[in-house]
């Protein structure tokens, strides 16, 4: 090819491109002259931006659960005394009391990176209490639950290990000072402000002695109230109460109280009596206890922008990721449906009356008879409930509408003059289809893509509602279905119910407004 001809080709190409841009500009100008189109575009744009920024504007993933109490309100809607999330670390400890024999020596050391180390040597009995120096001012009304976590390592400092037990407790200084009590029926009162949340001996189902003498290295964690058995384990002198006081929410009733101070206690019981023939302990036994900082997490009843759902998951994160999947999946799936219909319709229409047309038309008729929802259920039961399967079924069953229309259009366009002309100068079928007929159908294609997005989103939501949706999908449909079946309606969790419904309705109306504006532009008949 000679140089000038390539240049000429380039110039024509550029001109074509410019014309295309011009026509697009013209098109957009017409589009934005309509108020409803502007409204639709801004709604869709809003959700698109929301979805695009999902990673930056949410602290949590839509998968994270238990980030606050279940059914936590949005924090802006809650009164100031409703508990918020509290994350607190009790890092520094001090030795507050050492009771027992003088023969027992205790060395206490504060570790640099938080936590404490206690070395106990000598024979005898001792009870050592470490208390955190930090005190947490608790400013809210009692929260429903809290979570405590630490790590403990027990080894021997000398050759052998002594007998011991370790307990972690959380103490409300003010309540203990006031000698506050809680009546739990039948004139039984228990002291408030003190809760043993970890007891190494108490963890075991079967204990021979009240002590153990083996090394220990484990994480300590407790959720209050205990989801399985909410039993209070009162401190030493109230031991007889055990088993009587089930069903008391330890976090709420015993420890948390507005405007009080909390601290953490570590209680180490040491026993080494060489004379005891039952609980044997050599002369030179010792104990080294290392306690890591204690993490306290009080689950707030008010949280974030949109509160939490029944699993304590962040509704805002779910909403934002739902916007992302609504826009992305909605557009992708409706594009797939329309493109499939377009291809089939083009072929059938272009080959009107031939065997290909008959086969394709018959397929269209057949697919029309396969009901969508039962088909999704069949696929869900046979192959499992996954988002891609649901959308695959939708794409495979939803295209006939577009195909029928495109077939009709193509069949009329096929016999138009310019197609005849193109055929006369020897253009191939594929060329005619892609260069002459398809561009004529493009406005309709864009219109159907835009108009089928609401259906795609609502379809997924409906599938979720009948229990055949992907249980891990980040969609508004899952939020709606979970809020309906998971107690959102019964608990009046409006912050959980309203956003996904509003999102679904909003984006549907947005796309519909754009679609209608497009319809008026492509069908000039409708223009007023």
């Amino acid at each position: 090819m000679s140089q000038p001809s390539t240049q000429r080709a380039l110039v024509t190409k550029r001109r074509a491109l410019r014309e295309k841009i011009e026509s697009t500009k013209e098109f957009l100008k017409i589009l934005f002259r309509k108020k409803s189109a502007v409204a639709g575009v801004s709604i869709v744009l809003f959700f698109t931006i929301l979805g695009a920024l999902a990673d930056y504007i949410t602290e949590y993933s839509y998968r994270d659960t238990a980030i606050a109490a279940d059914f936590a309100m949005p924090s802006w809607a809650a009164p100031p005394d409703v508990p918020r999330n509290i994350n607190f670390y009790f890092k520094t400890f001090e030795l507050v009391s050492k009771k027992g024999d003088d023969t027992v020596k205790v060395e206490f050391k504060q570790l640099e990176d938080g936590g404490a180390e206690v070395v106990i040597t000598g024979s005898g009995v001792a009870n050592i209490v470490l208390a955190s120096v930090e005190q947490l001012e608790y400013p809210y009304r009692p929260a429903r639950s809290m979570y405590l976590e630490s790590h403990i390592t027990v080894t021997n400092a000398t050759e052998s290990i002594a007998w011991y037990n370790v307990k972690f407790a959380i103490e409300n200084i003010d309540l203990v000072k006031q000698n506050a009590t809680l009546e739990i029926g039948d004139n039984i009162t228990i002291p408030r402000g003190f809760y043993v949340f970890y007891d190494e001996i108490g963890q075991k189902i079967f204990t021979l002695y009240e002590y153990l003498n083996e090394p220990l290295d484990r994480s300590v964690s407790a959720t209050l109230p205990n989801p399985i058995l909410n039993r209070i384990q009162p401190y030493v002198d109230l031991k007889t109460m055990e088993g009587l006081i089930e069903g008391v929410n330890a976090a709420k009733e015993l420890v948390l109280e507005k405007d009080t101070r909390l601290r953490v206690l570590v209680n180490i019981t040491y026993y080494c009596n060489p004379m005891d023939f039952m609980v044997r302990c050599p002369e030179n036994a010792s104990l080294r206890v290392v306690v890591k900082p204690v993490h306290l997490f009080i689950k707030g009843d008010a949280h974030g922008i949109l509160g939490t759902n029944y699993m304590g998951a962040d509704v805002w994160a779910q909403f934002v990721y739902g916007a992302r999947s609504a826009v992305v999946l909605g557009l992708a799936v409706s594009t797939a449906i329309v493109v499939l219909g377009l291809v089939v319709g083009l072929i059938a229409g272009y080959r009107l009356g031939t065997l290909t047309d008959h086969v394709l038309t018959f397929t269209i008729d057949l697919v029309y008879f396969i009901p969508l929802l039962p088909m999704v259920m069949v696929v869900g039961i046979v192959f499992g409930r996954a988002l891609y399967l649901i959308y695959a079924v939708l794409i495979l069953l939803a295209w006939p509408g577009v195909a029928r229309t495109v077939r009709h259009w193509t069949s009329t366009l096929r016999s138009s003059l310019y197609v005849e002309a193109a055929r006369a100068i020897g253009a191939g079928d594929l060329w005619i289809l892609t260069r002459h007929i398809a561009p004529q159908v493009i406005p309709y294609v864009v219109y159907s893509i835009v108009m089928s997005v609401p259906g795609v989103i609502a379809f997924e939501a409906g599938i979720q509602l009948i229990g055949f949706g992907d249980p891990e999908a980040p969609t508004w449909g899952r939020m709606i279905s979970e809020s309906y079946w998971g107690g959102g309606f019964l608990n009046n969790a409006w912050w959980w119910i309203i956003p996904p419904i509003l999102g679904l309705v909003g984006i549907s109306i947005g796309f519909a407004l754009i679609g209608l504006a497009l319809d008026e532009i492509v069908n000039p008949r409708l223009r007023r």
Partner: protein, 343 residues
């Protein structure tokens, strides 16, 4: 080519389509799971469903008999396929695996629920949509028209079950929370269809009201839009122009010239809508806890109750075929243009 031969051709096409559709259902609900199971008979959902039923001591001798009846001990093709086609085309669906009662009588039990709800929900939207559509067309370009059209589009876009959810939230859950009483009952205990017992009938009406409200809101929109578009295009046509130019009052022109032309497409649309009465709206029924046929089919799918699934598919397909045929027939009878086009 006359009307008769056109109809005959259509009928033949419909019958072929119907046969192919029934056969394709066999592929979907019988062949597909077997292929997915990969030759493992335990993973075949029909056999799994039979075994589940056989856990009931009353039916544990029944499994062999049932296997024989469904031909499950014979190869999938051709024996099972032929048996299936024969039974399905003869509407001989047999006994439900799950409830051990004849499928057709099971469907008959649910039929009053489906008919009572969806007959209302088919007629009411059409009646309202018909009048509002004409009103909208009369006020074409004015505020009322814009409001009605936009309302119609919103009603079309938002799924019926979502409107039902909102109705339940704002008229049942929320009033209970705020004022301590229900305006409408929660969808917990479905009523019995009884007219003799006054209390039961009152409860039935009370229970149905939110369903009817939501259904009407959701399904009126498309009719408004549909009727409006027809009326607008007819009002813009030559004969209306002539009638108006001759000095006919707009109302008179509308009543005498336009409305008769609205009826044929309306009848055709109605013919398309009728099979929907049987299938109902599944998600709508599940949200509203309405024990209609759709809900029954849903439970059948969950339990893989093969005979019921077949019956549901076959009856729906029959109704669709018949309605398509009737729609075509109506077009030929009511619209002279279509009659000439056919020839």
């Amino acid at each position: 080519m006359g009307v008769g031969s056109h109809l005959a051709k259509l009928g033949v096409r419909m019958i072929i389509t119907y046969l192919a559709v029934i056969a394709s259902y066999f592929v979907i609900i019988r062949v597909l799971p077997v292929l997915a199971a990969g030759g493992n008979p335990m993973a075949d959902p029909v056999i799994a469903a039979l075994r589940r039923t056989a856990e009931d001591p009353r039916f544990n001798l029944w499994i062999e008999e049932a296997m024989k009846r469904f031909g499950l001990d014979r190869p999938l093709f051709p024996d099972q396929f032929i048996l299936y086609m024969k039974n399905t085309l003869a509407y001989n669906f047999g006994i439900s695996i799950f409830t051990q009662r004849p499928v057709l009588s099971e469907i008959a039990i649910r039929l009053p629920y489906t008919l009572s709800l969806y007959t209302i929900l088919t007629i009411l939207p059409i009646v309202i949509g018909y009048y509002l559509g004409i009103v909208s067309a009369q006020h074409r370009g004015k505020k009322l028209d814009t409001a009605l059209t936009q309302g119609a589009i919103i009603s079309y876009i938002i799924p019926s079950w979502l409107i039902l959810l909102l109705v339940y939230y704002f008229l049942a859950y929320l009033p209970k929370r705020v004022w301590g009483f229900y305006i409408f009952p929660l969808p917990v205990k479905p009523p019995s269809i009884e007219i003799a017992d006054m209390e039961a009938f009152k409860y039935l009406l009370w229970y149905m009201t939110p369903l009817i409200m939501a259904g009407t809101l959701a399904w009126t929109g498309p009719w408004i839009y549909f009727i409006r578009q027809i009326v607008v295009s007819e009002l813009g046509s030559d004969y209306s122009m002539v009638a108006l130019a001759k000095g006919g009052a707009p109302r008179y022109v509308l009543r005498k010239h336009v409305v008769p032309n609205v009826r044929p497409p309306l009848m055709v649309q109605l013919a398309y809508a009728v099979p929907g009465i049987f299938g109902g709206a599944l998600i709508f029924e599940i949200v509203g806890n309405w024990p209609g046929i759709a809900y029954f089919a849903y439970q059948a799918f969950l339990n893989w109750d093969f005979p019921v699934m077949t019956a549901f598919f076959a009856i729906s397909a029959t109704l669709i075929v018949v309605s398509l045929f009737v729609a075509e027939l109506l077009l030929l009878l009511l619209d002279p243009k279509a009659r000439t086009k056919g020839s």
